[in-house]
Amino acid sequence: MKENNALVKNIRIITGALIVAGIVFVVLGARSNEPSRMWQIYLVNFLLWTGVAQAGAIFSAVLEITNARWGSRMRSVAESLVSFLPVSIVLLLIMIIGSPHIFPWISKVEIPAAKQIYLNLPFLYGRNLLGMGLLTFLSIVFINKRRSADTGLIERPRKFAVVLLILYAVIYTFVAFDFIMSLSPHWYSTIMGMHFFTACFYTGLSVILMSAVFGRWHLFPADFMRDKDFHDLGKLLFGFAIFWMSLVWSQFLVIWYGNMPEETEFLHLRFYEHPWQTMTWSFIILGFFVPLIILLNKKGKTNQIVSSIVATLILLGSFVHLYVLVVPSITPHHLYIGIQEFAVSLGFIGLFILSHDVGLKYWPIPD
């Protein structure tokens, strides 16, 4: 690990400042007269960054299962993202306070008794805390096992990786149902679970690419990742862009064709009403068309500047995607874009980078 501590030090300063600003705005927002404006952006960021962190572990688990050697170098970059997971558990606990402003089914929208068995605060937070806690713990254990297996101490944790993958799919399906689908209680879509955990993995890939590129310039050893690795990561990103879009398209097409009012309200709000229509089109362009066009030919994938720009755009696209999924259900009539949103988001980014930095201490990149 090349000690470029001058750079590392001022990164820490900036992120610290961002976190403080974030906390200030969180507290202010929570107390302001419309707290749901703050809590919704809090939820969006929480889902985005937890998904990215978890995707790191899943990326490593997938490489483990297919025992592909091509990804061995970028694996450690991916695993360093996982360090944010414990922080996300804490953020989830904080979010309990804001629940009445997030979940409409607590007070604003009444739901039938049968659903209240599933949609009630204690059970919801119970299963999510348990699920995410379990995933965090298993991810960390898996990474330690994987690193020690690399050094030949113990045999490959292949079975562990399979279990981790299955758990990821199941738990993140329930996260999607609880934190996205339940925000508009009368709406339902069977693909929501798969849609969410694929989106998380897809964003995770782009963040891995970004941190690999950024790391290569500043922190990690120069020959740390060869062009070939970037090419493979680029191809994987390109493949996942298409797969992610196919899930978005499948959900849209089935609901649009069925034209059942129960389902089309969700669609109408996001595709046909003014403020959200532009947001929806932007996340489709950022999340699908940009990577499709740029990553199509070989140069797009190997040239690091281009691929890192594409990765950031994909990250932005995913943010907008989660924003469009969550926010219209909570505050449907007003598009809030202001300091509060930026502050909270930057606070989350600062938190992520800081935890990432701490993570690198525990899991140094092998040179």
């Binding site: 649009w256 064709y257 034209n259 059942m260 009012p261 129960e262 089309t264 309200e265 669609l267 109408h268 595709f271 046909y272």
Partner: protein, 961 residues
């Protein structure tokens, strides 16, 4: 449709030749043109001929639609007082008797050994004249009235010997006259006006199916049910077993057989005490003779809970215009007339006479013979007193219990002549069978009800070598008192009627208007003032004995809504029309209470052998708890042995099980028998039922609105838009027309007349029992019956909803179905490839698929409507709101340069509905009935949550407290 150009021109020629006096062979006379003074018949143009339906004694006025020499549709005559435009399923299916594969085509002679030889008319008549023996001659016929009856009687009178016109009709109205004789000591008949009643109590009177005049009663009942200024008629039904009428009641309770008099008289006593104010004469004698009856004993006897009887009693007493009808109960045992007497007493004490019941002193109205007299006639035949017997339009071998006695009696008659359109059991016993005109091919003057003179006129040239029966009688023996041709007789008759009704007018020119109108009816009915009670009524009351209700199971034979007394059983439309309450087709199962089923461990579809009075029949079982635990009931219809191809033979004929006991006073047939024995056979025959499940499974297909809430909403004319959902599809406009239909569920009584009318209008094919069992029925409109949870069930006519966002249109790959600019869901038959995805995607399952290529054997193919495309196998079809009628109306409107007026287009189902439940019109025209009803407070749409935006809007039924 084998109707080549040559045969068409031939029939065209024949038609114009028929413009001559309808009796082709008669001498040419001055020509009375038919409806339109047709210089020539324009092929392709439909012509309408007003006439009268002779399917049952009710005598509804009908219009026959004739296209290119064939009658293709029968519709109710809008200005006829009995049908008022509507018809019952039997009336709609009369065409299947006219165009029937088993029609008798020319005279037949049956030798002793049963060999049938076909004769020409001259040979047959010569042979008959030669065999005529002087001695008693009698004509055994069904119920005949008006000119035909008069002709026959005068013809018989001029013959030497003591001749008689025997009218045998198992289901008849004689009970009224007999009872009025007992109660008022006057031979008067009574007419029931349901439209004026506010509370109707029916004891076994299925007035929507077979009782007296179903179309007229249904029409009036629907008027009474409408909510007007806070009032809607409440209807309670007490009966031995369930029926279509009991299903439509607000409350229907099962009572023990023979307990009707006790209930009615107990109610009368209750009202007597309650209404101390009104001026009932001889109040004290009433009180004394009604003393032994009380609601408590009535409830023990009948098994109905006491509080229910109390509720009925209080409702009756509070209602200012109530009506008590007594129907099948009269035929439940030999003392049946007592219950009708009790009902009349209850009506009298409740003061209904003069309000909802009218009396007429025209005694000769219903002159059918009492069955006891018919027994004596059969004995006289047995004793060889009858030398010549003529059989006309009746089938006693099938619907008279003493079959063996009748057969041996018939063998004793030397000369038997049968006048018939199609072969049946009795006709087969005759020596000579002479084909006569069907009622659509002959002249006549019927008088179904006092003061109503209903015309019968031929719509087409007789399709086979048949003649009018009166014509044949004249050609057998000319009678001195009668004119030499039947044509002249009819003219004289109508002239006589004309003089009586319209003395001022001259007959000649008005004959034409009368032909168009379909008869004459004097509005003012001779109405008697309420007569006084006869003295011996009270000792009759005192002579009433306490009824003994047998413990052993009893067998009730019910008149069938589809086959009346068994006469419609050769019509495939009626067999394929699902039964009113249990949707079974092509069979008449025996209905059994679960207790009896458990006792004999039977389950649905097992075949049982029922035996009584030394006769046994077999029938499949249908378990229902809408029947008295001690009674098993079966409808008439099956068991014909010689009645054409369509009649169902495996299931037996229930009438044959009846014992020949007759009612003590009216002498009518008793339709129940005590000693019935039920034995399980090994066979089982699945009853083909068209409905999957009778429970709505919380899908609110049939919705109801409580009376109290309806009154509030009706008061302030509340309106409610139907479709208000977020729309992700762009709006598409219907510039000129936007056709829609409104179905009023409070009016629809599930009679199925719309279903048969649709079969006739749209050439819907028949598929038979085995295919209906496999779910391939072809009806474009069907009656769905769902249980409403509290024991009641309601009806909903379901047809293609012509949705604005039709799920079926999107998925058709070849544009075989699409949305027209007039709001119709168009189905293009010749473009359809048969992927059947549209039927899968239709939430209402209103689409039907031709799994087989439909076949119409000659002559049934002459009934096909030429406006409709002949769908081959492999093509999807559905209700098109009779788009050919819409197109015709638009063409007519275009010629006159105007839009189609409201009511000008009526689909076949809406036109035929006796209760006017279906209204069709153009939503773009604000004045149309439809656009007013669409936003009615009762309006709703089936499966609104699927956002298909249907064009068929239902009005909620009203749920009485």
């Amino acid at each position: 449709m084998k109707f080549s150009r040559r045969s068409f021109l031939k029939s065209l020629g024949a038609l114009s030749f028929a413009m001559a006096p309808p009796v082709t062979r008669g001498p040419l006379q001055q020509l009375y043109p038919k409806l339109i003074p047709a210089e020539e018949i324009i092929p392709g143009m439909p012509y309408w001929y007003a006439s009268t339906c002779r399917e049952c004694p009710a005598g509804c006025g009908v219009m026959h639609k004739v296209r290119d020499g064939n009658v293709i549709k029968i519709e109710g005559n809008p200005n006829h007082p009995i049908s008022r435009g509507g018809l019952c399923p039997r009336g709609q299916a009369a065409l299947q008797e006219l165009y029937n594969i088993d029609r008798i085509r020319q005279p037949i002679f049956i030798a002793e050994n049963g060999k049938q030889t076909e004769l020409t008319w001259e040979a047959a008549l010569r042979e008959i004249r030669s065999r005529l023996i002087t001695g008693r001659t009698s004509i055994m016929t069904g119920h005949v009235n008006g000119a035909q009856k008069k002709f026959m009687e005068t013809w018989l009178r001029t013959l030497p010997g003591q001749n008689s016109l025997v009218e045998y009709e198992p289901l008849n109205r004689r009970a009224d006259v007999q009872v009025n004789k007992i109660v008022f000591n006057k031979e008067v008949s009574s007419t029931y006006h349901l439209d004026k009643a506010r509370y109707i109590l029916s004891i076994g009177a299925d007035f929507m199916e077979t009782w007296q005049s179903p179309v007229q009663h249904s029409h009036n009942f629907a008027i009474a049910r409408q909510l007007k200024d806070g009032q809607a008629c409440k209807f309670v039904y007490l009966g031995i077993s369930g029926s279509l009428t009991s299903t439509n009641a607000d409350e229907s309770h099962i009572i023990a057989p023979r307990s009707e008099p006790a209930i009615l008289l107990a109610l009368a006593k209750y009202i007597l005490e309650k209404r101390s104010d009104n001026d009932i004469r001889m109040r004290d004698t009433w009180a004394e003779s009604l003393a032994p009856y009380s609601l408590e004993t009535a409830s023990q006897l009948s098994g109905v809970a006491l509080d229910i009887l109390k509720k009925i009693a209080s409702d009756l007493s509070q209602s200012d215009a109530s009506l008590v009808l007594c129907g099948d109960a009269v035929a439940s045992h030999e003392r049946g007339t007592e219950s009708v007497v009790a009902a009349t007493i209850l009506n009298y004490i409740a003061g209904n006479f003069g309000k909802t019941i009218e009396l007429f002193n025209s005694p000769d109205n219903d002159t059918t013979w009492a069955v006891s007299d018919f027994d004596r006639f059969v004995e006289s035949m047995e004793a060889r007193q009858i030398s010549t017997l003529m059989i006309h339009q009746t089938n006693p071998i099938y619907n008279y219990p003493g079959t063996q006695k009748l057969e041996s009696a018939l063998r004793k008659v030397p000369l038997k002549i049968a006048f018939a359109t199609t072969m049946n059991e009795t006709v087969a016993k005759a020596d000579f069978i002479l084909p006569i005109h069907h009622s659509i091919e002959t002249w006549g003057l019927d008088e179904p009800e006092p003061g109503v003179f209903s015309l019968v006129q031929p719509a087409i040239d007789p399709i086979y070598e048949s003649r009018a029966i009166e014509e044949i009688l004249l050609s057998i023996r000319l009678s001195t008192d009668l004119p030499e041709t039947f044509e002249k007789f009819i003219n004289d008759e109508w002239a006589a009627v004309f003089r009586k009704v319209e003395p001022s007018e001259t007959f000649g020119p008005n004959w034409q208007t009368m032909l168009e109108q379909g008869g004459m009816w004097s509005d003012e009915r001779t109405m008697d003032s309420v007569p006084s009670i006869s003295r011996n009524l009270f000792d009759f009351l005192s002579s009433l004995k306490h009824p003994v209700i047998p413990a052993a199971p009893m067998f009730q034979v019910k008149a069938s809504h589809r086959f009346y007394d068994g006469r419609g059983a050769n019509k495939s439309w009626l067999w394929e029309l699902p039964h009113g309450t249990d949707n079974s087709v092509w069979d008449t199962p025996v209905r059994i209470h679960p207790e009896i089923a458990a006792a004999h461990h039977l389950k649905d579809g097992d075949v049982v052998s029922l035996s009584a009075n030394q006769r046994t029949i077999e029938a499949p079982v249908l378990i229902t708890n809408n029947i008295h635990p001690n009674v098993i009931a079966m409808e008439i219809g099956a068991g014909h042995t010689n009645y054409g191809e369509m009649a169902v033979k495996e299931t037996g004929n229930p009438i044959s099980l009846l014992s020949r006991t007759n009612d003590f006073s009216s002498g009518d047939l008793v339709f129940m028998t005590d000693e019935i024995s039920i034995k399980r056979t090994e066979k089982s025959r699945k009853i083909a039922r068209v409905q999957g499940s009778y429970d709505q499974h919380r899908r609110e297909i049939i919705q109801e609105i409580p009376l109290a809430e309806a009154v509030k909403l009706e008061a302030n004319h509340a309106h409610r838009p139907i479709h208000e959902h977020t729309e992700i599809y762009p709006e598409h406009k219907h510039p000129i027309y936007d056709w829609a239909m409104v179905v009023d569920l409070s009016a629809c009584n599930g009679c199925g007349s719309c279903v048969v009318s649709c079969y006739a209008e749209n050439n819907v094919p028949i598929v038979g029992k085995q295919q209906v069992e496999r779910g391939r029925e072809m009806a474009w409109i069907r009656i769905e019956r769902f249980e409403m949870g509290d024991g009641r069930s309601r009806f909903l006519p379901m047809m293609c909803q012509h949705c604005e966002h039709a799920p079926c249109e999107t998925v058709c790959p070849v544009y075989a179905t699409m949305h027209s600019s007039e709001g119709l869901n168009v189905q293009v038959y010749n473009r359809c490839v048969g992927t059947r995805y549209c039927s899968n995607n239709c939430p209402y399952k209103a689409r039907r698929f031709n799994y087989w290529s439909p076949k119409w054997p000659e002559p049934t193919d002459r009934q096909l409507n030429p406006d409709i495309y002949h769908r081959p196998k492999g093509v999807m079809e559905k209700c098109t709101f009779c788009s050919h009628r819409i197109r015709k109306a638009k063409e007519d409107a275009k010629i006159e340069g105007r839009l189609v007026r409201d009511g000008e287009v009526m689909p076949a189902c809406a036109q035929s509905c006796p209760t006017g439940a279906l209204t069709f019109g153009n939503l773009n025209d604000p004045e149309s009935k439809v656009s007013k009803l669409v936003n009615d407070y009762r309006a709703y749409v089936v499966f609104e949550e699927l956002n298909t935006k249907p064009s068929v809007i239902y009005l909620k039924g009203i749920k009485h407290g």
